[in-house]
């Protein structure tokens, strides 16, 4: 697996228990590109990602990463594959008991024979990459949401992965920070030979950095292809999703009158001296 591996999903049905969430997916994620998995809330994007990461067993079908069937590989072979992957979780998923530098250093300490000084050099470089070199000694609870996310990205990148998975990397970030993160992903793609799979709601981000898009909805894969092909689609669901159009309603939504101030337990009108 010298070059960035592609990912192939064959007749894949994922879900929880016996309930399918997304069924019969045949998806080909190209190697060395940024693929974005988009779709409405609860459509199964993160569920699919967790199955690709082999955190859950699919109900049916197969997942191939670089030609290897993820669920057939066992023991050390699968461990090798896993050590070539990095994942950024929604809230960073940093270990609360470790300082930032130890969080980022953890995979290196566990899987390499590098000396501590070499490990610290790599950690410093990766944290510098995400603009957090000044926060190395802080604990995760001392970081803001955006900083936790960037720290999670530094940890995901620390082993120089061939496949990077990101779950909602820009959610909860301000537009400037989101744009910065997009820029960072693009820079990394230029620098490393890496396949990146991003689950997101962020259409602006999708339009900026995606090479390939997978749209999930209605319990299945609705589209896969380039951003240009997606923008040209006429399908009603895809159009409303891309144009951010809420469905039209025949009946008014706000039918209930506001709460009568006289029904409040505290007499705020009197207490605040209002007429």
């Amino acid at each position: 697996m010298a070059t960035a591996p592609g990912i192939r999903l064959e007749s894949l049905t994922v879900g929880y228990g016996k309930t399918p969430v997304v069924s019969d997916m045949d998806i080909e994620i190209p190697g060395g590109k940024i693929t974005m998995i988009v779709g409405g809330s609860g459509c199964g994007k993160s569920t699919l990602l967790k199955h690709i990461l082999r955190l859950h067993q699919p109900l049916r079908g197969s997942i191939f990463i670089g030609g290897h069937d993820v669920f057939s590989l066992s023991g050390k072979a699968f461990r090798c594959l896993r050590q070539r992957m990095g994942a950024l979780f929604q809230d960073g998923a940093l270990l609360g008991s470790l300082r930032l530098r130890d969080n980022v250093a953890l995979p290196l300490r566990e899987h390499t024979r590098l000396r501590e000084s070499q490990i610290m050099d790599i950690v410093h470089h990766k944290l510098e990459l995400v603009g957090l070199e000044h926060a190395m000694d802080l604990f995760p609870h001392e970081l803001s949401g955006g900083m936790r996310k960037r720290a999670g990205l530094a940890r995901a990148l620390v082993m120089d992965p061939q496949v990077l998975f990101c779950d909602e990397p820009t959610s909860g970030l301000d537009p400037v920070m989101s744009a910065e993160l997009d820029q960072l992903l693009l820079e990394m793609m230029g620098h490393f030979d890496m396949t990146t799979v991003v689950v997101t709601h962020d259409l602006a981000s999708m339009r900026t950095i995606a090479d390939y898009v997978v749209v999930l909805g209605d319990g299945r894969c609705l589209f896969q292809g380039s951003v240009e092909d997606l923008e040209a689609q006429e399908d009603e669901y895809l159009r409303s999703f891309l144009d951010r159009e809420a469905p039209e309603r025949d009946t008014p939504r706000l039918t209930m009158p506001p709460i009568d101030p006289g029904m409040m337990k505290l007499n705020c009108t009197q207490l605040l001296g209002e007429e």
Binding site: K50, F89, A93, L95, G96, P107, E110
Partner: protein, 267 residues
Amino acid sequence: MSQATGGFLTPFNALGSVALRFLEELGAMSIFFLDSVRFVFAGWGQFSKSVRQIYFIGVQSVSVIALIGLFTGMVMGMQLYFALSSFGADGFLGTGVALSMVRELAPVLTAIMLTGRAGSAMTAEIGVMRISEQIDALTIMDINPMRYLVAPKMAACIISFPILTAFFNLIAIAGGWLTGVRLLGANAGVYWYRVQASLSWADIEGGFIKALAFAVLVCTICCYEGYFTHLRGRVGPEGVSQSTTSAVVKSCVVILAADYILTSLLW
């Protein structure tokens, strides 16, 4: 007819379903235990983490174990003195205090106190790590959560429980002396002689075997409940609190049940 048969079988179905769930949980817990023990002996890589856990589970529990041991010994000294002196046998006060502590109360009360103090914290810590995807993150980084999280706790429990039980014994026997001898006037020399003469190696060994068994049981139950907190009916913080409560209740019940079984087997 089939409806009548179904109605007749309903209680048996329910009972069978409960029994199956129990067996399923017991099997899962046994696998969980074997997995964690396997990693305890897997190498020295986890040594520093085990030392930190020994500090948390063992060292930080010393004061509470000392307090519980002191008061338990004092109450035991007082009650036994009143009971024995009513028929002129207060010379056996040392025997009563020493045997009841070493064989029964020290291992059981130490384990129950450690369940409340450290076991609940272990469940909550692992449970929060589960719901905040930290355990998933470890898995993705190819770091086995059983080795990284559970094995150091298991090692720390196996080391801390017997040491704290021994400490409880010492403090409790001194507590018995404080009330029986210093406050109520039993003979000090006889008290210490009886403590020494009545305790055999089998008693001390039995107490330690119990402490070891309780360590393994408490650690397995508490870590298991936290580790699988996401599989409970309620997820999120409520699931963690449910797991923590369940871990403490199950541990206490299992400690008392195991105590009965071990007492039957050991003496």
